[in-house]
């Protein structure tokens, strides 16, 4: 069965729900404002702005309802947290940062080099494997993925800025 990691202390779920509802409210408000330049009805027929306005308004109303519900709902369990502190949160942050850096590195170094670095980083920093094992697995996985997509499926990978030959 799944084993939970990390501690149970963290950002309370009730607060997270309130923030989430607020974000949805802001998003829907901005969407409704953005529809302003589009035509809603043209000669009695819905124009391009009709569906965005209808669903933007629906989201606005529902987000207010959700916000009220989140505020009114008592904290059933004060220990329930949005995300557990400890190793779990650290891993999420590591993976998220790695993904952003990976996407950036594809532009600079090309797919194969960026993938090798990405896999190595995750295996070493999140998986806590040794250097040799991480390098070996990253190398093999990169070759297999690159081979399947480049030669098997004929995919053209993005041209890197720094290493045009990768």
């Amino acid at each position: 069965m799944l084993v939970q990691g990390g501690t149970s202390k963290g950002f309370p779920m009730k607060n997270a729900n309130i923030i989430g509802a607020s974000v949805v409210f802001v998003f829907s408000l901005l969407s409704v404002i953005a529809v302003k330049g589009m035509s809603i009805f043209e000669s009695g027929i819905p124009g391009p702005g009709f569906v965005p306005l209808a669903f933007g308004l629906l989201m606005l109303i529902l987000s207010i309802a959700l916000l009220v519900q989140s505020v009114m709902t008592p904290s059933a369990n004060a220990r329930v947290s949005f995300v557990k502190r400890g190793s779990g949160l650290r891993d999420i942050c590591m993976i998220s940062a790695s993904l952003i850096v990976y996407a950036g590195c594809i532009h600079l170094f090309g797919y194969s080099m960026a993938t090798l670095l990405f896999l190595f980083a995750l295996l070493k920093l999140v998986g806590n494997y040794g250097y040799r094992f991480s390098l070996m697995v990253s190398f093999i996985a990169t070759i297999v993925l690159y081979g399947i997509f480049q030669y098997g499926l004929g995919m053209i990978f993005p041209e890197p800025y720094l290493f045009p030959f990768s």
Binding site: L2, I45, I92, I106, L145, F149, M155, I156
Partner: protein, 512 residues
């Protein structure tokens, strides 16, 4: 009037056509690849069929449409087979539809009967899967011929029925489900309006002008977010069970003979219903089996009927779910919503015209499901040791590789790094949605059905010169709208009653 014999011969003729399409070396290979990958996805905890299909759609783009959908459908029903392996061996269901299997399957494994549990699971899946494909074959063509009378108003009403499934896919909170569906509708409007050519939410960006691609959203919302959520948990994979003797005993067959029939029929019928996924059918079949059993106390303690019922039903639901998908373009569950997107990407619009305009594709797909089902039986019985060994691969090694695959998949959509950033963005959105208990399936459903619904609405109102009564004056459209409203009301009432029961239970517990 044609007799039923003539209709039967017609179906048989079309099935033979389908086999001629499916029995090409290319289609056989990709059918095998699909069911193999589906089993793999089902075996590996942390990866579900929805994420699996989403990740592999980009790989299918280079293939001919029939071949691509044969492979992707194979992943869908193959994953039902694979999920039972981990459920039985390490009490970790590979996907939700195998949770009831774990209740008795794992107990059987602890009693030294892992082999018969796995064997019965594979055989009941095969039998129920075959029955459901027969049901699909018989039910789909007449339903499709009825739907030939559809015009834009009927299509809009049909899409509206599909969109009301948001309620069924909403999980615990209806408000959050509808918000997620609305969010999906908003995303679907980004780009150029197909009717007027006006830009919507583009802000001068050429990439946004091309719209937000379905694959990028799905890869982000389901695959990337799943891995981020799983990063919080440690997946334990301790597999110590020895496997010996895969075939169930004669007594097992006697005990399960009616279970196989019941689970096949029940699973197929439940699979037809919107919102009723394979996991729902598995739970219901398990519950029914326990109720009709002369020894209900054995369930949960290693009853092989429990394994047969759950696995049979979840496989039968796959065939059942394909009926509304192919005939009406309504996906009754999240993985089928992804499959619907795949059909659209390959230029195949599901619905009544699919049977008329692409009979080779439809019957080729149905025939391939027979073949795939047989392949799965061969894959899962002799190769069970191989699948069991895969459970030993640590999640920390698999997850980074899957993430790299996600990036390739997103990039391959339009050979554009912008799509990779979109997938990443939706990965983070999906993570927060999961943590805040917003369901992701309604987003995908709305993203796929939304543009079709909008086009049908605007076309209908162009025909009627802005008169909304066109949806009520046309009988099929009116009937579909009534169905949607009744279904919506019933779902809301059912949720409210469930909520009341839960509150009453909490109150009585706190009083004690």
């Amino acid at each position: 009037m044609r007799g039923s014999g003539c209709v039967g011969m017609e179906v048989l003729d079309k099935l033979l056509l389908g086999f001629s399409v499916a029995f090409t070396p290319e289609n056989l290979f990709y059918c095998f690849l699909g069911v193999f990958m589906g089993t793999l996805i089902g075996v590996l905890p942390g990866f579900g069929p929805t994420a699996g299909i989403a990740i592999l759609i980009p790989a299918s783009v280079a293939l001919p449409p029939t071949t691509a959908l044969i492979m992707l459908a194979g992943i869908y029903y193959g994953s039902m087979y694979g999920g039972s392996t981990t459920a039985i061996l390490i009490n970790t269901p590979g996907e939700a539809a195998s949770i009831p299997t774990a209740l008795d399957g794992y107990k059987m494994a602890r009693q030294g009967r892992a082999g018969p549990a796995l064997g019965m699971s594979a055989i009941s899946s095969f039998i129920a899967g075959t029955v459901s494909i027969v049901g699909l074959m018989l039910l789909a063509p007449p339903l499709a011929s009825v739907a030939l009378a559809f015009g834009p108003p009927e299509y809009f009403s049909l899409m509206f029925v599909g969109l009301t499934m948001v309620v069924s896919l909403s999980g615990k909170s209806l408000i959050k489900g509808i918000l997620a569906g609305s969010f999906g509708m908003m995303i679907s409007t980004v780009g150029m309006d197909p009717i007027s050519g006006e830009e919507r939410f583009c802000y001068g960006s050429i990439q946004l002008g091309a719209g937000i691609d379905f694959i990028c959203v799905v890869v982000g919302l389901f695959a990337i977010s799943e891995i981020l959520c799983n990063a919080e948990e440690s997946l334990a994979s301790v597999f110590e069970t020895k496997l010996k003797g895969l075939l169930p005993s004669l007594q097992d067959w006697i005990d399960c003979k009616w279970t196989l029939v019941r689970s096949s029929i029940l699973g197929f019928l439940i699979g037809l219903l919107p919102g009723a996924s394979a996991s729902v059918s598995a739970f219901i079949a398990y519950d029914v089996e326990k109720k009709v059993s002369s020894h209900p106390e054995k369930f949960g303690e290693g009853a092989i009927e429990g394994v047969a019922a759950a696995e049979g039903a979840n496989n039968a639901a796959c065939g059942g779910g394909m009926v509304p998908l192919l005939t009406l373009g309504i996906p009754p569950s999240a993985p089928l919503a992804i499959l619907l997107g795949a059909l659209m990407i390959h230029g195949l619009r599901p619905g009544p015209l699919l049977f008329e305009q692409n009979p080779n594709f439809v019957w080729g797909l149905i025939a391939s499901m027979y073949i795939g089902n047989a392949m799965l039986l061969l894959l899962n019985l002799p190769l069970v040791g191989f699948w069991a060994s895969l459970i030993r691969i640590p999640y920390h090694i698999l997850a980074p590789i899957v993430l790299a695959l996600c990036f390739i998949g997103a990039y391959s959509v339009r050979n554009n790094m912008f799509d990779v950033w979109i997938a990443l963005f939706f990965g983070f959105i999906g993570f927060f949605m999961r943590k805040l208990e917003f369901p992701a399936a309604p987003v995908v459903l709305a993203l796929v059905l939304g543009p079709m619904a909008e086009n049908a609405l605007r076309q209908s109102l162009t025909i009627s010169r802005g008169d909304f009564s066109i949806f009520l004056t046309r009988p099929i459209s009116a009937a579909l709208l009534c169905l949607a409203i009744v279904s919506l009301l019933l779902s809301i009432v059912a949720r409210w009653k469930k909520h009341q029961k839960a509150e009453a239970l909490i109150e009585s517990t706190s009083e004690d």
